[in-house]
């Protein structure tokens, strides 16, 4: 029996393959560009130019360049009306469909936090200033969080029902985790999953108001970490029952082998300092995968670089694991909220496929309170078979997934 098979009573649970993926993030358009940027430890954080940050403490974020993202906008009036987030989802899904044109999901599960928020901002500003509301029907129609998902599905002729999960910063990982559970339950054969989010002023200022965003560099797990920077992007994964995928000759990129979810009721925005919430999510994910902590070769941490989050997560990792390599790729691309878990899962797929550890950049000095093996500043070649990816969010939502290398 394979290490990835799990018995549920006397029944062998289906295994869950990732058969295709697509991504757009500040690291690049597509898996290829993303891999190159990860290997060279690209710092994608730049000054914010899409809205006024004069009065904010933090003035940087990681952007996807509009000149590339919106290049297809000229193709028709409908495309021109769509939100940037829709273009991100379309870009990511285009890559996935290119990898596996036959893939037709029964259900779509996508994470986000803020949908087409900037259209809501446009609407409110126009109202407040008594400006023309000529565009308001377009803003309103394209504002809801399900719209970018439906736009992308429509573009590629996919008509599956859609769950949009809004579990704050854990949304993407929760979406992938729920999709994994659906396939592993045997009720579904194929699901489309992932996450997206686009930068918006309201969210940027919100994190700034909480002083969770940093005016400096984003330094996850560093002794002198001072907060997060925001990012944006979209990533999608095609999950399929492994046997079905093999039968049709699909390429197996990796397997999702475990998922854990917990709710930390300590506070709406702050984790329990004991790290109990993250610890439960990670422990449940390991148990769900029927593996031991020692089996994990790399952890892609949530690692926002806020003092509280990194302390709680770092404590939980240090308690559960012995010296496993850890990095937060948010140091390179910022925190893309609902997209983060999905983009970081794609990062894990690339790490497994190309056998390297993605870096945690801007790292200067270890935190003496956190006994962690940080992949500091440069990517490293490594033999890795199993990785774990964490996402934790406002509201106390904690999610961890375990991903295994595709077996020949």
């Amino acid at each position: 029996m394979s290490r990835f098979n799990v018995l549920n009573g006397t029944t062998l649970l289906p295994r869950v393959a990732v058969v295709a993926a697509g991504v757009v993030s500040p690291l690049g358009f597509g898996l290829g560009e993303t891999l190159i940027s990860l290997r060279k430890a690209a710092d994608c954080v730049k000054p914010v130019t899409c809205f006024d940050v004069t009065n904010c403490r933090c003035k940087t974020a990681a952007h996807i360049p509009d000149d590339r993202l919106l290049a297809g906008r000229q193709n028709g009036r409908k495309s021109a009306r769509l939100h940037r987030a829709s273009h991100m989802m379309i870009t990511a899904l285009e890559e996935l469909v290119g990898h596996d044109p036959e893939f037709r999901p029964e259900l779509t599960v996508i994470g986000t936090t803020s949908g087409g928020m900037s259209f809501g901002e446009d609407y409110y500003r126009a109202l407040n200033r008594h400006q023309t509301l000529r565009h308001s029907p377009e803003w309103i129609a394209n504002y809801p969080p399900q719209k970018p998902v439906l736009d992308a599905q429509e573009k590629f002729g996919i008509s599956s029902p859609c769950f949009v999960i809004a579990n704050a910063c854990a949304s993407g990982t929760n979406a992938i985790g729920h999709a994994f559970e659906c396939v592993r339950s045997g009720k579904y054969k194929r699901l489309l999953t992932g996450g997206y989010d686009a930068l918006s002023e309201l969210v940027f200022v919100g994190f700034d108001s909480l002083q969770a965003a940093t005016p400096e560099k984003c330094r996850p797990f560093d002794r002198d970490r001072s907060g997060m920077v925001l990012g944006e992007g979209a990533a999608v994964l095609a999950l399929e029952d492994l046997n079905t995928a093999r039968d049709r000759g699909a390429t197996i990129l990796a397997e999702i082998i475990g998922y854990g979810i917990s709710t930390d009721n300590h506070h709406l925005t702050q984790p329990d300092p004991s790290g109990s919430g993250p610890r439960r999510a990670m422990a449940d994910a390991l148990e769900n995968a029927r593996i031991r902590p020692d089996d994990v070769d790399y952890i892609n941490a949530h690692g926002t670089a806020t003092p509280f989050n990194d302390a709680a997560e770092g404590k939980a990792i240090a308690e559960l694991f012995k010296s496993v390599p850890v990095s937060s790729t948010k140091s390179m691309i910022g925190h893309s909220l609902g997209a983060a878990g999905a983009i970081e899962t794609v990062v894990c797929l690339l790490a497994l496929h190309s056998q390297f550890l993605p870096p945690n950049i801007n790292f200067r000095a270890p935190d003496p309170d956190l006994a962690l093996n940080i992949v500091a500043n440069e990517s490293r070649e490594a033999k890795i078979d199993i990785v774990l990816s964490n996402s934790f969010g406002f509201g106390g939502t904690n999610a961890s997934i375990v991903i295994g290398k595709a077996q020949a």
Partner: protein, 373 residues
């Protein structure tokens, strides 16, 4: 696995509690419209709002001190559903309960206030107290903390059909034997800016009543509140089948997906709890029902309770479950006699052993389910 409704909670413009609201619906009562304004210089809209006294018995909890209206509605309905289930099954182990919260617009009042601060006074004036309450999953977080749920908690967003999708998600979660039940709570709060947006989207009318199934559609009235269902493997009402439906790219195509849902759920002995709200949705439903199930009794709660968007589908499920248990339907108010459908009028509302809930949302999603007793 069979899915049942083990407990229900309901807070609406007609008050709080399944039995009191149901009694009012049976009497033909409607929510009374109130004016929703945004200051003197702006146009006021009509909305069906939850009466203040509906929350007077909500137990005080630190998490609700600064919470938005949507969080309070969710808490009230969720706690009531648990209490309702406990009247039959006293011991509910919260370690084995998952939570799914469904909404469409979320905490729009705090979001508007937070952004207003940015627009009027600059980013430096943005309130760190308001921002966390703008996040979609804030109500779920509060409810989980109040109930002591520390396992799976999901917030799912969508249009009016999101409540059905949440129930579908619950059925997926309950495949896992480590869970005994799943609390599905759907909530929405009304606000001036929502009324303004729906008006500009040409879906809202100025004053009640909501006239369902009229041609052409005359528009809807927004409302607010919450509905909650404790779903388990045993309970008073069985959910036979859930149709996660699909998506329609144009309003004109809504009837195709609604037709597919009704076809798959069809039961000629069932009553149909429709989502007709005075908009294009009505046309999609009347075409479908008249063609496929012309003899079924059709009831929509929206003329009486208003269009509560994210909460609406769970409200429909509460109505369907009550109709099955009470074996009757409330009278359908403001329906035209020439719609080509059969409506209950208070004397002909007897209900058989099954009910179909159709939910066609205003933003491209549709879903449905069938219940039986």
């Amino acid at each position: 696995m069979t899915l049942h409704i083990a407990g229900m909670g309901w807070i609406t413009p007609l008050g709080r509690g399944v039995d009191p609201v149901w009694e009012k619906l049976l009497r033909g009562d409607e929510g009374s419209a109130q004016s929703i304004s945004n200051g003197e210089k702006t146009k006021a809209y009509s909305g069906f709002l939850v009466p203040n006294e509906a929350l007077k018995d909500l137990s005080p909890h630190p998490r609700l001190r600064r919470a938005s209206a949507i969080s309070r509605y969710a808490a009230a309905a969720g706690l009531d559903a648990i209490a309702n289930a406990q009247s039959r099954t006293p011991k509910i182990d919260m370690d084995r309960v998952a939570l799914i919260f469904a909404a469409s617009n979320g905490g729009v009042n705090y979001t508007k206030r937070f952004y207003h601060g940015i627009v009027e006074s600059g980013a430096q004036s943005a309130s760190p107290l308001l921002f966390p309450e703008t996040v979609f999953n804030a109500p779920a977080s509060h409810l989980a903390a109040i109930l002591g749920i520390n396992g799976a908690s999901y917030t799912i967003v969508g249009d009016g059909a999101v409540g059905i999708l949440a129930i579908k998600m619950a059925s997926n979660l309950l495949q896992n034997q480590s869970l005994d039940s799943c609390l599905v709570v759907a909530a929405e709060e009304a606000d001036w800016i929502l009324c303004d947006a729906y008006r500009k989207w040409r879906l809202l009318k100025a004053q009640p009543p909501i006239a369902p199934f009229h041609r052409p559609p005359r528009g809807t009235i927004l409302s607010e509140g919450a509905g909650a269902l404790l779903l388990a493997r045993a309970g008073a009402v069985k959910i036979d089948s859930i149709h996660a439906g699909g998506n329609f790219s144009h309003q004109q195509k809504a009837s195709e997906i609604v037709g597919r849902i009704l076809h798959d759920l069809r039961d000629d002995n069932a009553c149909i709890i429709a989502s007709a709200n005075g908009t294009f949705v009505d046309l999609a439903e009347v075409i479908t029902i008249a063609k496929q199930s012309p003899d079924c009794m059709v009831y929509s709660p929206k003329p009486a309770l208003g269009e509560s968007v994210g909460a609406s589908a769970v409200w429909q499920v509460v109505v369907a479950a009550q109709a099955l248990m009470e074996k009757r339907l409330p009278p359908m108010v403001h329906a035209p006699k020439d719609a080509g459908l059969r409506f209950p009028d208070g004397s002909n509302g007897k209900v058989g052993p099954s009910a179909i809930v159709l939910s066609c949302g205003l933003n491209q999603q549709a879903a449905g389910l069938r219940l039986s007793i």
